[in-house]
């Protein structure tokens, strides 16, 4: 392989799905779970585990789509790089979790079938991640809320019996710790920056804080799997309070957003922001059923 001469390397590389030309830098894995045992660990209901992987996978897929919408719109080039990097981390997690969900649920669906061919009501993400982007303060606040909660969750999933969940969590803890630090450092700079930035941060907190409670509200699948997110509530709030104090921002005293007949994101009941997000995500794939990309 003539790495120093791209033209030679291109003509040397063989075509086709197995050829070396499929090679892609870092992000190129074609099978996210190559070599992983497809069965659920003993004593765990595969359907429940599949549903859980889908919930966690949808959270990060949808948030990554929102971060991607920032590209070419960020306030500074360093933020372009950082937001793309965060989006890539989340997308990588989503690919593994969705693939695992498709393995376990017996449908044989791959990551792309799950991402591109499910209807909105089959998406299981919490509503916080799907809300429209808003300004950079909202970007920072959403990242802060989500990353703090997800890091805390991954920390607990590191030792999970399922090899995929535990592997995603082990890598994800490091990734989410960076996301939380990135968001915290901006929260502090914006909160304690100018009057304008402080005002925007308060507005962003007021807008997004009410969606946080849903991340702690258990779904029956989570209860059956013994991963009750209510346990995250206390440490997550403590961590957020610490960041907000340093950012000179008050902790909002706002109730959580209500459910619809007892149902919300985890049950496939979303906000009005979700439909357009999925329409954009899915449009090309759905225009070419059966095509390989």
């Amino acid at each position: 392989m003539s790495d120093d001469h791209v033209y030679l390397s291109l003509t040397e590389a063989g075509p086709g799905p197995e050829g070396e030309a499929r090679w892609a830098y870092g992000t190129g894995f074609a099978d996210p779970l190559l070599g992983v045992d497809a069965a659920a660990p003993k004593g765990i209901d595969p359907a429940d585990l599949a549903a859980y992987c889908l919930m966690l996978g949808d959270d990060v897929l949808v948030l990554s789509q929102r971060l991607i919408q920032w590209i070419t719109r960020a306030p500074e080039l360093e933020e372009e790089v950082a937001l793309a990097n965060l989006g890539l981390d989340l997308l990588g997690q989503a690919r593994r979790l969705l693939t695992r969900a498709g393995q376990l649920d017996g449908s044989g669906r791959g990551e792309d079938e799950l991402a591109y061919w499910r209807e909105e009501s089959a998406y299981r993400n919490v509503r916080l991640v799907e809300l429209e982007n808003g300004d950079f303060a909202q970007c920072v606040v959403r990242l802060l809320l989500f990353a703090t909660a997800r890091e805390e969750l991954y920390r607990r999933l590191v030792g999970h019996a399922d090899p995929v969940l535990s592997a995603v969590a082990a890598l994800g803890v490091k990734e989410l710790a960076y996301h939380r630090e990135y968001a915290s450092s901006w929260a502090v700079r914006l909160g304690d920056g100018t009057e304008e930035s402080h005002r925007r941060m308060r507005a962003a907190l007021d807008a997004l804080w009410p969606w946080l409670e849903e991340l702690f509200t258990p779904h029956e699948v989570e209860l059956r799997l013994g991963v009750d997110p209510l346990q995250l509530r206390e440490p997550v709030l403590a961590s957020l309070e610490q960041v907000l104090a340093e950012a000179t921002l008050p902790v909002p005293d706002l109730p959580g957003r209500a459910y619809v007949n007892g149902r919300a994101g985890r049950h496939g009941v979303h906000t009005e922001a979700m439909g357009p997000l999925l329409a954009e995500l899915q449009v090309v794939a759905r225009a070419h059923p059966g095509a390989t990309w």
Binding site: D3, A24, I71, T72, D192, E196, V284
Partner: protein, 319 residues
């Protein structure tokens, strides 16, 4: 005056002997100005170049393609950062260069003023546009100005990944459905001539080339590089099974090269003068991001100033 003549002679000799010029070395003002113009234009091109492909980030039809495209956008922002940093070694700053970009006082590559209309454009940009960029840029790795040359080494490596990824997407699509093949051909039809124009005007009409060659900023003429690109690309197009939209394309056994037709230079001139399909849109997006982000940058500065003031007063009270 003699001292001036001496440093000039020393500079000319060093450059002619292929030695690197570093930021602290004496350099002619025109050399500095040429480099600032070229490096800034290159940096702007990386940043504006994120837009046409970024147009497909949210709609990429597989998660793997989405990840690849996102990684590419991230690389491009990174390239912009190295290049602005290289320009800063010449005594300008990034904020000033960004102002000049959004005011239209500095340019970026005209190729990015064409629209990306289907997902196949993502592949064709990787193959043809990144391919042409690499042809232009590989010689810059030996450019006489050290910081630029070093930035280009890293950039060229990453660009070559991008080109492979683009070509690989096209190979996958041409092996796919009829609709996918038609998308690829349509994209090639739209991007072929603009890609040839990336090498600049014909040698006879390229006013700055000779001096840049003497300064070892430029090493090959526009027409040489264009020919090299055509010669490399024709067999790749055959391998893909796409037609290059040039009826004059023919192998010339005597020259050992492909003959090809003349691009429509008057159309390129329109685009260069700001009348391309996307000139206004690209600058507007960049301006909106820059101006919309002003409050964020101001907040970061205000925060840093507060911390610095605290530290200073802490030192005074403890000292």
């Amino acid at each position: 005056m003699e001292a001036q003549a001496q440093v000039q002679a020393r500079f000319d000799a060093a450059v002619a002997a292929e030695q690197r010029v570093e930021p602290r070395d004496w350099m002619p003002e025109a050399y500095r100005a040429t480099l600032v113009r070229q490096i800034a234009q290159h940096a702007h091109s990386e940043i504006i170049g994120m837009q046409p492909e970024g147009n497909w980030l949210t709609r990429a039809p597989s998660l793997r393609r989405k990840a690849i495209l996102l990684a590419k956008a991230q690389d491009e922002a990174g390239h912009g950062l190295y290049l602005y940093a290289a320009a800063e070694t010449l005594g300008v700053d990034r904020a000033e260069l960004t102002e000049k970009l959004v005011d239209g006082r500095q340019k970026y590559s005209s190729i990015f003023n064409y629209p990306t209309l289907t997902f196949a454009d993502v592949g064709v940009i990787g193959w043809l546009v990144d391919g042409a960029a690499i042809c232009n840029q590989v010689p810059l790795c030996r450019c006489s100005y050290g910081p630029y040359a070093r930035a280009m080494v890293r950039i060229c490596k990453e660009e070559s990944f991008h080109q492979r990824q683009g070509y690989e997407l096209l190979m996958t699509m041409t092996a796919g459905t009829d609709a996918q093949r038609a998308m690829v051909q349509d994209a090639v039809d739209r991007w072929w001539w603009p890609s040839l124009m990336m090498f600049g005007p014909p040698d006879g009409a390229s006013p700055n080339s000779e001096r840049s060659m003497a300064w070892r900023i430029k090493r090959h003429s526009n027409d040489e590089l264009r020919q090299r690109f055509v010669d490399m690309t024709v067999p790749q197009a055959e391998h893909l099974g796409v037609l290059l939209p040039d009826p004059e394309l023919a192998w010339n056994a005597e020259r050992g090269s492909w003959d090809f037709g003349e691009p429509d230079w008057s159309e390129l001139q329109q685009v260069i003068k700001g009348h391309g399909p996307c000139n206004a849109q690209r600058i507007e997006r960049r301006r909106a991001a820059h101006e919309g982000g002003a409050w964020v940058r101001e907040a970061a500065s205000a925060y840093a100033a507060k911390r610095a003031a605290e530290e200073a007063s802490g030192e005074r009270s403890s000292g």
